[in-house]
């Protein structure tokens, strides 16, 4: 099963096995990874599941689509080139080396 690494606000890293087809947001919620709020449940309405793709990440990701790009305008923490909404990062069976960092705030 693909493994996603989350870097928490305190710098700790946690590795989660994520079934293919599950989003990085949902895996965080199911595994009690703190710092991802996901108020809208992943339907692109709230921008409270913001993450940064860490420089150490080696996973190949497709670029954000227009809607994600637009919602990223509303993230509470700094918007950076490596900003993504974790509800839109769906883990594929072949994915490996994804490392995401939780921003300092979501709301």
């Amino acid at each position: 099963m693909p493994i996603v690494t989350y870097i928490l606000r305190d710098g700790k890293r946690t590795e989660i096995e994520v079934p293919a087809g599950t989003s990085v947001m949902e895996a965080a919620i199911h595994n009690n990874v703190r710092g991802i709020e996901a108020e809208c449940g992943g339907c692109l309405s709230c921008a409270t599941c913001h993450v940064y793709i860490d420089p150490s990440s080696t996973a190949e990701l497709s670029a954000p689509d227009d809607a994600e790009e637009e919602l990223l305008e509303g993230v509470a923490a700094e918007r950076r080139p490596e900003s993504r909404l974790s509800c839109q990062l769906v883990v594929a069976s072949t994915m490996s080396g994804l490392v995401v960092r939780i921003p300092e705030k979501q709301g």
């Binding site: 919620i29 009690n32 309405s45 509303g74």
Partner: protein, 419 residues
């Protein structure tokens, strides 16, 4: 003894209140009482993906089981609170047990308003509020061919869209002259009506259901103009009633909801209330306005944060910008602010292409923005509304106007509520 917080009602508001109280330093017991057997779960998908089958039940829980342990939140499923003894600071549960509290939070939510006509208790009649309703409805849709949706509000319209996506014929019956009459501007109503018509939904506007008749292969829904709509499924979405009985029973102020102040405090200093059940005079309403309730995930979460602060003895008045969303077919409707009494509006984007936002002004101040398939406008609108930035109709009408640059002038100013 460390103070014990007891929370009655385990959905968005109750869960957020528990999490915020713990996260902000409440170090006593936190007991979260819910009358359902399920841990707190997402409700918005029930009328959308859960109904169409694209959103599986195991994705519904709001938090993992480990969350409750780690946060030391004692969740009590299938538990009903029967009454509150304010003098002894105890609540009585359905099994006769008594639970002492130092702080009590009422996040009791709301229940569906039932259809009141002959035949309304027929087996074909469904409601949509909780998981049990949704499961029963999904079961019925496996065989249903023709549905009548009673009520053209958000639940009714979302249900209609989901049923259409399952290939079921749908007629929506609405007593008002337009759908979403209570909750959206006429322009949004027209756009949603067009979308539903385009997807094959029949609309019976300005019509009332007077009876439901049992017939051979289902029911016939009789309208006030004499029409009889035969169908094998009726979905009723005609609003909700706040669950205020516990509060009223112990003498708290109740007026169309459990009355709270800007800090979510009831008339008893030991009791807060938040979410669908709580009535308050919103900060955006003119002074002297009546208290109102807001039924949304955002309101439940943000009010719960305010209520948690009050439990901890901090005063953090509710100042969040209200926002709401509804997904129907390929339309993503997102609303920010409250457009009540708007005096002017302006459009950005293309109505023909189905991507636009309506900016509402009252006395030259921006009060609300409704966006259809324009998430960026929605996010920027929330920013603008929270900072109170001046924006004019002329700005919005100017084709060269850069909303993003304008909203980001105030970058760094906190918006929304802290998590």
């Amino acid at each position: 003894m460390k103070p014990r917080l007891v929370i009655v009602g385990a959905s968005y508001a109750g869960l957020q209140l528990a999490a915020s109280a713990r996260g902000s330093g409440h170090d006593g017991d936190i007991v979260l009482i819910g009358d359902e057997p399920h841990a707190p779960y997402q409700r918005p998908p029930l009328s959308k993906g859960f109904l169409t089958g694209s959103f599986a039940e195991e994705r519904l829980p709001l938090r993992s089981p480990a969350f409750y342990g780690e946060m030391q939140i004692q969740w009590m499923p299938s538990t009903r609170a029967l009454r509150i003894d304010r003098e002894r600071k105890e609540i009585e549960l359905h099994d006769g047990a008594r639970l002492a509290y130092d702080h009590l939070a009422l996040t009791t939510g709301a229940r569906v308003r039932k259809l009141d006509c002959k035949g309304a208790s027929h087996d074909a009649v469904h409601y949509l509020r909780d998981l049990r309703d949704a499961r029963r409805l999904v079961e019925r849709t496996q065989t249903a061919r023709r549905a009548v949706v009673v009520g053209g509000g958000y639940i009714g319209l979302e249900a209609a869209a989901s049923l259409r996506q399952k290939g079921i014929d749908v007629t929506v019956v609405e007593t008002e002259a337009r759908v979403l009459a209570r909750v959206a501007s006429p322009s949004i109503s027209v756009i949603m009506q067009r979308a539903h018509t385009r997807h094959g939904v029949s609309l019976a506007l300005g019509r009332k259901v007077v009876a439901i008749h049992d017939v051979a292969d289902g029911v016939a829904v009789e309208l006030d103009d004499g029409a009889r709509l035969s169908c094998d499924l009726v979905v009723v979405g005609i609003g909700v009633l706040p669950n205020t009985e516990l509060a009223a029973g112990c003498g708290l102020d109740v007026a169309g909801g459990i009355v709270v102040d800007a800090c979510a405090r009831t008339s008893d200093p030991s009791i807060v209330a938040a979410g669908d059940c709580a009535a308050f005079v919103p900060y955006w309403a003119p002074a002297g306005s009546a208290a109102c309730r807001i039924e949304s995930v955002q309101n439940a979460n943000d009010m719960a944060r305010t209520a948690a602060a009050s439990v901890l003895g901090r005063s953090e008045p509710y100042r969040a910008v209200p926002w709401f969303w509804s997904d129907q077919y390929d339309l993503k409707l997102q609303m920010a602010g409250v457009n009540t009494g708007f005096t002017d509006f302006a459009v950005r984007g293309s109505i023909d292409e189905g991507k636009f936002s309506l900016f509402y002004f009252r006395d030259d101040r921006l009060v609300a923005v409704d966006s259809i398939n324009r998430p960026q406008d929605h996010m920027l609108a929330r920013k603008l509304l929270s900072t109170g930035t001046r924006l004019s109709v002329e700005d919005v009408n100017d084709p060269g106007f850069d909303l993003k640059a304008f909203a980001n002038r105030d970058a760094g100013v906190a918006h929304g509520a802290a998590s």
